[in-house]
Every structure is written in structure tokens, then in C-alpha cells.
Symmetry: C2
Subunit: 369 residues, 2 copies
């Protein structure tokens, strides 16, 4: 690493927004025990711990976690190395702009030149070396005054992700200008995007100078910016709690993509660095099964500590109980066995789990959510 | 009822052999809680209680239960009206001849002219009036010195049952001579049987003078007969326990069909009375689902106290826990949810549950059997 890099990296701080329940992963993922607190890959660690370990070589001692109050204990237990001054606890979820902007503002007070990188707590990334190299390039580009997003090379015309439309090449490496961000497309448009080679999946990984993020926010959402700056001023002082109590629940709920990334792209302030590493958002049980089977057909993957007896069955069993699960003659099945709720469906219907959670909500079964 | 009938019925005693685990109904049916102790029809009563209630109009105060020692408490709780002198407890299962012959011998000591009728504890019979009329005719025919079996009119060429081959008409009613009993046939032969109209399903319901049963047994299995008579002599005396301890576990294990019914048929001693009532042996979960759905397609039947949330699913859920079970997109599924084991299969594979139980046995999971 050259000294320019060293300098850059000293100003780099990783931020892990650890939020989002993951309704499509019910009944494993719950309000009280969301997706990122589970081992969904069979790695022996939770997604949050995997994310932490992935960032460690890039930002040892410089990782901040933003999570809900109710997850404080679990997060601290799972991440014993997390310095308590590097945790922001949200009384309620206020979407990604509030979470990341507050982290940016708090960190900018400590180091005005800080470059932050935001990485979701619940993604799966293989190829550590490629990931590190990509983030390092993103930091370098960010240091030139850009908001940098990592664009995932699409492996299929997915309609589950937003896309990043790339423009001109920016540097000697692989970074490009971002022309614009586009919402989740329909399948026809998704195919056009993939065929063109000009579009990446947007996984919401942003690397940028904290100051720049906050400047953009000040223009696009001045009220939200003002509240965030007030909270950051009070951070670590005795007025922190009263300011949070007063302001937090009133913060506008808006995704960082809309509040910062899109408006910044229109001003030519956003760059994309392609991520060539294998990435999964494990958004539903079908994708976990896919990840587990690694393309092998007819396998039954087992996550958790359940005993299983399977005959002519494939798919995935996620067990959160010690019960014996016997499966006979079920293909591409999804079984999620928890102490108070049991889900049985198929890969094909994995996306429907969210509607089921909506039904539970509507029928007042909050104890199961 | 005429006075001949009254006389006959005074000598009638119903015997319920309550044994057999029902491996194909695992994990609901267990060694410690076999099939007959469960409500498999949604009637709100167990199969044993349904059997008791069905026999009550025919034999009030004259119903004997033969069951395993380990089920004594459950049976007594489920049948509070059962007189303790009318229960025979088996230290171990010795098949149906031992169970029914001991009941016959004990009852013959009380009333040498007793006619006993043996009815399994785990069958489902609809049409109470038809059942009663059929048994009454069987008792009348038995009183003429016959072993009478109730033959079920086949509704399909089943290979799961033995068949009864009928001969000449015997009386003015519907009874016929039995030419012979035949083992479970293959599908081709089963079709021939059904097409001929000369065959009934054998459900193992036998009505006969106790003395006649014991006479046949004396010829076919003299050692077994001798032990049974010795046990009956000791019954209700202070040597009962020591005789049982000495003899029971050495009794030959043989089904009553082989030890008594078949040999007796060869001697022209057996008659069949057709049973035109609806009968189910609920041998596996597919047949329970069938019974529950009453032919309606696309239904999800629910037995037990589980809460269920189903979308595009059919089949049966049997719940022995209070958990919520969510099903999405599964057709003809079978889900059996118990505190320590969960079975998921399909109607098509319902028969395979027995092999799974064999695997559990072989792998030493006796705590789950």
C-alpha cells in the first residue's frame, strides 16, 4: 500500500446500518431477531458478524454500527470488539438516510476529512480479496470528491433490485460516472439493461466523504439535515438523550438512494466502481437455498441445529428448534421450524412469505412478528 | 326386539383389542400414545372412545378392553365407564389370538354361553344404525354355532386388506358361508375379486360363541390354548399375576385370522355378514386426509389444536402443539406437528412413513418412537 492509500485509509470509517426485519425470512427473522442476527449461510457466524469480519481488514477499530435500541444487547454480544462509542442506537427505525447521515455527522465531528463507507449488515459477499480491492478503489475515488457506489455486475435480469446506469470512465482504474439510478424495472426492461452492459445492480453500498453526503442532504432535505446536525452536536454530551428523545421520531423517513444518491448523480457527483465479487442479498429462503446448494440440484440444505431425516426431498430446512424433522417426497421445499411458528412452502412461493406476514400483522398476531 | 334377540343379546359381550402402534401414523402415533388414543376424525373423541360409544347400544355394561399395561391409565381416563373387571392388561403385545382368546376364556368362565364380538379400537365406522343391525344379525348367526365375520363391501380394488371369499347364502337374511380367507392380493387379483362380487374386505371383526373359538384354538394351537385356559382359571384370583408373569411372554404370537378364522372356514364353521356401513381403517395420513375432506378437492383439513394460515394449500395438518403453522403453495401435503418431531410429506408418500420409522428404530432413536 502506498502512502497516499495509507493516508486515505486513515480517514476511512466503515458504517454498518443494521436494520430491516426481512419479512420474507419470517418466521426466522422477527422484529426482535432480524435477519442480520442469524446465521443464514452456515458459516457458523451471523450475517452481522460476517459483515464485521469482512470490513475488519479495511477498517480495524474504525467500524460503526447503527442499529435499533432493541438489538443493542444482541449486537454487543455478537461483536465483542465493537467500541461502544461506535454504536448508534435508534429508538425507532427512520430509514437509511437518518441512520447513515447521523453516522456521517458524528464521525465528521471527530475527523472532518472522514470518508465513510456504508455496508448493509445482511448481505453475503464471497471473494474477500476482490471485495477489499473494490472498496479501496472506491475510497480513492471518493477522496477526489465523489459519492461512490459499488455496482454489482448483473448475473440475470433481476426485477428485485434497482439499477445503476453508468457513464464515462473516470479514472485509470475501473470507476465510471453514474448517469442515474433507476428503480426496480420490469423483466423486459431488466433484460435490456443487462444486455446493454451499461447497468449494474445497486446494492446500496456508498463510499463518500461524510462532508459531501451532508452537503447534498442540506440541499435536498434541509430540515432533516438540520435535525441530524443538531443530534450530532449533542452526541456524546449530556444532552444526547434529550435531543434524541425530542428529534429522532420526527425525522423524515427516506432512503438514502432518494435523499442523496439520485440528486447527487444529477449533479455529476456520483461514481460507480464495479464489484466483480459474488454477492447475495439472501432476501428470501429461495435465495438462501440457492446459496447453500451452490447450484447442485436435488440437495436438501440444513441450517441450524435441527436433526433431519430426509427421503427423496430437496430444498432447505432452517431449524431453530432441536426437533427431528422428517421429510418424504418433497422437492424444492422450504421448511422453517421455530419454537412458536412453522413455515412450510416451496422455492417457487418464497416471495409470498411477505404477504403472509402482512396477514399476520393485519390479524393482530404481533407476538409472532 | 323379539325375545330370542333379547336372549341372544344378554349373552353378547363386546371385546375391544386396543393394540398396535400404527407406525404409518408416526409421529402422532407412538409406542406410548398409539393410534387409538388419538382423535383422528375431528369428532372430539379418540378412536377408542368412538369405538366404545359405537358398541354401547349393543353391549352396555358388557364391553371388555384388552390393552397394553402402559396404556392402562390412558384407557381408564378415556373410558370412565369401563368396569375394571372388564379390562385385560397385557404385559407385552402377543398379537390378536392371545388377546381375544384370553378375553373369550375369561368371559366364558362367567357365562359359558357368551357370544363375543371383537372390534378393533382404531377403526372408523359411519352409519351407526347399519352397524348395529349388522352386528345383531352376526350375533344371531353366531348363536347357531358359527364364527361370524363382518365383510366390508369393497369400494375399490385395495391391496391393503385381506379378502373374504363368500359361498352359499346361509339364512333368510344376508349371511353367507365363508369359503376361505385370502391374503392381501396384488392389484390384478384385487380387481378380479371386486369384479366378481364374491369377495369382501376382511376388517377382522369376529362374532362367535367364546366356547367355539376356544374349541377351534384347542385343535389348531393346543399349547397356546392350554396357556390361555390356565390364565383364565387364575383370572381374578391371587395367582393371576404370577400366572401372567410365568406364561404371558411365552405365548405364541399369531393373528386370529391364521389361528382360528382360516382353519375354521375350512371346516365350514365361518359365516360372513355383509357390512354396508362406511368403514375406514385410517391406516395412514392419506386416508385420514381423505376421510376429512370427504372427497372435496383442494381442502386443507386441520386436526388438533394448531393455528394455521394457509395459502394455495391442500391436504392435512395434524397438530399436537399450539404453534402457528403457515403453509404456502403445497398441494396434498401432510404435516404432522408434535413437540419433538415434525413430519412433512405428501398423500402420495404417506405409506413411506413406516420405512422412516424403521430407520429411526435402526438408528436408535427409540425416544421418538
Amino acid at each position: 500500500m502506498n502512502s497516499a492509500n495509507e493516508h486515505i485509509n486513515k480517514h476511512f470509517f466503515a458504517v454498518i446500518p443494521a436494520g430491516g426485519i426481512g419479512s420474507r425470512l419470517w418466521p426466522l427473522s422477527r422484529a426482535a431477531a432480524p435477519k442480520f442476527l442469524h446465521d443464514l449461510t452456515g458459516s457458523g457466524q451471523t450475517l452481522l458478524q460476517d459483515t464485521w469480519d469482512r470490513l475488519l481488514p479495511l477498517a480495524k477499530g474504525r467500524i460503526m454500527v447503527v442499529t435499533g435500541n432493541i438489538h443493542a444487547q444482541a449486537v454487543e454480544e455478537q461483536l465483542p470488539e465493537l467500541d461502544l462509542q461506535n454504536i448508534i442506537l435508534e429508538p425507532t427505525p427512520r430509514d437509511s438516510t437518518a441512520a447513515i447521515a447521523l453516522a456521517a455527522a458524528v464521525l465528521a465531528q471527530r475527523d472532518p476529512d472522514v470518508i465513510i463507507g456504508s455496508f448493509a449488515a445482511d448481505h453475503v459477499i464471497l471473494d474477500q480479496a476482490l471485495f477489499e480491492a473494490t472498496v479501496k478503489e472506491a475510497i480513492e475515488v471518493a477522496a477526489t470528491g465523489k459519492i461512490v457506489t459499488i455496482g454489482l455486475r448483473p448475473t440475470e435480469p433481476s426485477v428485485a433490485f434497482g439499477y445503476i446506469h453508468k457513464g464515462e470512465r473516470l479514472s485509470t482504474k475501473s470507476a465510471c460516472e453514474v448517469l442515474n439510478f433507476v428503480e426496480k424495472p420490469n423483466i423486459k426492461i431488466a433484460k435490456q439493461y443487462v444486455d446493454s452492459g451499461d447497468y449494474f445492480w445497486n446494492a446500496g453500498m456508498y463510499i463518500a466523504p461524510a462532508k459531501l453526503l451532508l452537503e447534498v442532504l442540506k440541499e435536498t432535505e434541509p430540515e432533516l439535515h438540520e435535525s441530524i446536525m443538531a443530534l450530532a452536536s449533542a452526541w456524546g454530551t449530556k444532552t444526547q438523550e434529550s435531543e434524541m428523545a425530542k428529534r429522532w421520531d420526527k425525522l423524515k423517513k427516506i432512503a438514502i438512494d432518494y435523499a442523496i444518491a439520485e440528486p447527487a448523480a444529477k449533479k455529476g457527483l456520483v461514481a460507480v466502481v464495479p464489484g466483480e465479487f459474488e454477492w447475495h442479498d439472501v432476501g428470501d429462503f429461495a435465495s438462501i437455498a440457492e446459496l447453500q446448494s451452490q447450484g447442485r440440484k436435488g440437495n436438501l440444505a440444513v441450517l441450524g441445529h435441527g436433526r433431519v431425516l430426509a427421503d427423496s426431498s430437496s430444498g432447505i430446512l432452517v431449524s431453530d428448534t432441536g426437533r427431528l424433522v422428517a421429510l418424504i417426497g418433497l422437492e424444492d421445499v422450504i421448511v422453517v421450524d421455530t419454537p412458536d411458528a412453522l413455515l412450510i412452502t416451496t422455492k417457487e412461493h418464497a416471495q409470498k412469505v411477505k404477504s403472509l406476514v402482512d396477514v399476520l400483522k393485519a390479524s393482530g398476531h404481533s407476538e409472532l412478528l
